[in-house]
């Protein structure tokens, strides 16, 4: 579905310096019962964010007013586990437009790009640097420049370039999705299908 275009983003960052943040933490299975894409942001990190009685857990980063922003920074192997796109939806619906990590699980990364969240893979050293700057100053900002494929830690001026295929980059810059592209290829696909042995 159509999503907001992504170009440049400068924002403070919500830090989550934990490895292997899995999709069951991002959105627990019991919140997957909707037949519409609505309200997933409310249940983002549900069990880390709220007590069983629904009261917020004061020590969780999303409940700490010091940390806010449109960028989420997570430890290595972020988004591992299930293929549920609901995980990416909750990240988007909560208000994040970009997730930064030193390593993403494949399906989560694809899901993000398909719905307009930019996953940025940085080196482990750069990620550590981001976390330590945020520790010093929670208002630390990152600038993510998609056209130039660069991410900058504004406080220090440190920069890294990141990878993204030209195709996906073009989609995100213009708010296109794969279905538009595939739809234009119908006749090629039909021809291909007719040659399948099963």
């Amino acid at each position: 579905m159509a999503y907001d275009k992504f170009h440049m983003l400068t924002s403070s960052v919500v830090p989550m310096p934990i490895e292997n943040v899995d999709t069951d933490q991002i959105i627990p299975a019991r919140f997957l019962k909707a037949v519409e894409r609505k309200g997933f942001g409310d249940n983002l990190f549900r069990d880390w964010r709220y007590n069983r009685d629904g009261s917020p857990k004061a020590d969780f980063v999303l409940n700490n007013p010091l940390y806010k922003g449109k960028i989420l920074a997570g430890g290595k192997n972020f988004g591992c586990g299930s293929s549920r796109e609901h995980a990416a939806w909750s990240v988007y619906d909560y208000g994040f437009r970009c997730v930064v990590s030193s390593f993403f699980a494949d399906i989560f990364k694809n899901n993000c790009m398909n719905i307009g969240v930019l996953p940025v893979t940085v080196t482990p050293e750069f990620l550590d640097q981001i976390f330590s700057e945020i520790e010093k100053n929670p208002e630390t900002e990152l600038t993510v420049d998609l056209p130039n494929q660069e991410i900058t830690l504004n406080a220090t001026g440190q920069k890294e370039s990141f990878d993204i295929s030209d195709y996906k980059k073009n989609n995100l810059l213009n708010g296109y999705d794969d279905i538009d592209y595939l739809n234009a290829m119908k006749s090629d696909i039909e021809e291909f299908a007719s040659s399948r042995p099963f």
Partner: protein, 467 residues
């Protein structure tokens, strides 16, 4: 002479409709499975775009993720689950997709019913909005999990966009010891390369251990490829795969079948073909396994102690958080740990062969009083076999009940939730925090280890009970 190719290359390349320059491949999908949880939004979006399903006969629907495992003949009580099940049924009916709903004799977990009915075939591309779609790789198919946007792509165009993953070979030679099951093999591999060790890769499993493994066993192994971060895993199709499929309802028949068999027999990795990553292990090093942490890479041989943070591949902070959640400490023995629940089932270990193993241990013994056991067959056909083969009698005599098929406590979307703080030995595939219910503590293991826990009420080495 053309370049040497891997099995994965051969199947992948045969499905590329077009390669986008500096972008993904457009990959044709032979079979698409859908279930009630990840498909409704895809249908909704498809309708909003005014599009329709391009090849309804290439998609198959089954209800499994949030279905109750008792009283399936009654209306589903949970309103939200009932709405999702209805949506699957009506979306399938509207679009001409075959639908095996609750109570249908072919109903069951999507990755169990696909192979069971011969829908899964070697050399296919197979996708489903569930990451354990990798299961179907046991037959030499390229099978992997996709998100809901991709479900919509497959519905509307029978294709998805994917970058070709890197190739990994996992080779294990030698003979497995007594009581070491395919589940132990895959838990061992993940513990060696970590929960992210396969990211970006597609795995080919090779070597004597996999050659000698049954189809059910290969499915268990391929199923958990995703738990090391790999997109999927596959085993070259051999006579075992072909014999398993021959004559099943949806498998081609007659000359069509024979032609396919000839083609499938050519599907092997060429001599000299290259992989991006290779791991070689020795079967003799593998013992029955159990996990002690909150990702599937945190597993050890059942006789071992919980390792020091310096000996695991995870970072110290995550490791400590994980042990803290489990209520375990470094250096502790796993043997003897208290168990409250046993879950036997899921697309990892919910097949007939798994129940045969479970029965081997519980035969002539009694369920421990402190254990609540949920035994959930992977499909209606598995359920029928359990009864036919007399396994049901063994289970009942030992004080166990059999529930009705579904995903159940594997992801705890229905009522089968492990209560907060309780310890469960589970034959499923994920031990993430809260996976089996908020606060639940999961230890992943094989059907033999699960059975040993169920009759002794604690973690017990199954080898002691088999001799």
């Amino acid at each position: 002479m053309s370049a040497a190719l891997t099995l994965f290359d051969k199947v992948w390349d045969a499905h590329v409709v077009k390669s986008i320059e500096n972008g993904p491949d457009i990959l044709f999908i032979d079979r698409h499975f859908i279930h009630e949880v990840t498909s409704p939004v895809a249908f909704l979006n498809m309708e909003k775009r005014g599009m329709h399903v391009m090849y309804p006969n290439r998609t198959f629907a089954t209800a499994d993720h949030n279905t109750p495992t008792i009283n399936q003949h009654l209306p589903v009580e949970d309103e939200l689950s009932a709405t999702q099940l209805k949506a699957l049924e009506s979306n399938s009916a509207k679009n001409g997709i075959s639908h095996w709903g609750l109570g249908h004799k072919k109903n069951g977990i999507v990755h169990v019913v696909g192979p069971e009915n011969g829908i899964t075939l070697p050399a296919m591309t197979i996708v489903c909005g569930d990451s354990h779609t990798s299961t179907h790789g046991a037959f030499g198919a390229i099978a992997f999990g996709i998100g809901t946007s991709e479900v919509e792509m497959v519905l509307t165009s029978q294709c998805i966009m994917q970058n070709k993953p890197k190739k990994m070979r996992i080779e294990i030679n030698g003979t497995l010891s007594d009581a070491v099951l395919p589940k132990d093999v895959i838990l061992y591999v993940i513990s060696k390369i970590s929960a992210s060790g396969g990211t970006g890769h597609f795995v080919e499993y090779a070597g004597e251990v996999f050659e000698n493994m049954s189809m059910e066993g290969r499915m268990t192994v391929c199923n958990m490829s995703i738990e090391m971060g790999a997109r999927g895993g596959m085993v070259a199709p051999d006579s075992k795969a072909i014999n398993y499929l021959e004559g099943r309802e949806f498998a081609p028949k007659g000359d069509d079948w024979n032609e396919l068999v000839t083609y499938w027999q050519t599907l092997k990795t060429d001599e000299g073909a290259e992989y991006d990553t290779v791991h070689v292990f020795d079967a003799a090093d593998i013992e029955p396994m159990i996990t002690y942490g909150t990702n599937p890479g945190l597993g050890i041989g059942i006789s071992k102690q919980i390792p020091d943070p310096t000996d695991v591949l995870d970072g110290k902070a995550s490791y400590e958080k994980s042990l803290d959640y489990m209520g375990f400490g470094v250096g502790q023995n796993m043997i003897g740990k208290h168990v409250d629940y046993v879950f036997m089932g899921s697309c990892t270990n919910g097949r007939i062969e798994d129940f045969r193993q479970f029965a081997k241990i519980v035969k002539g013994k009694k369920k421990a009083d402190n254990v609540t056991a949920w035994l959930v067959p992977g499909s209606r056909q598995v359920e029928a076999k359990i009864k036919e083969e007399g396994i049901m009698d063994i289970l009942t005599t030992a004080g166990f009940e059999l529930r009705q098929p579904g995903c159940s406590a594997c992801l705890a979307m229905n009522d089968d939730k492990i209560p907060e703080g309780k310890y469960a030995v589970s034959t499923s595939n994920r031990n993430f925090e809260g996976r089996q219910g908020p606060g639940a503590r999961t230890m992943l293991a094989s059907p033999l280890v699960a059975a040993a826990a169920a009759v002794t009420g604690k973690i017990t080495d199954p080898r002691e009970l088999l001799n």
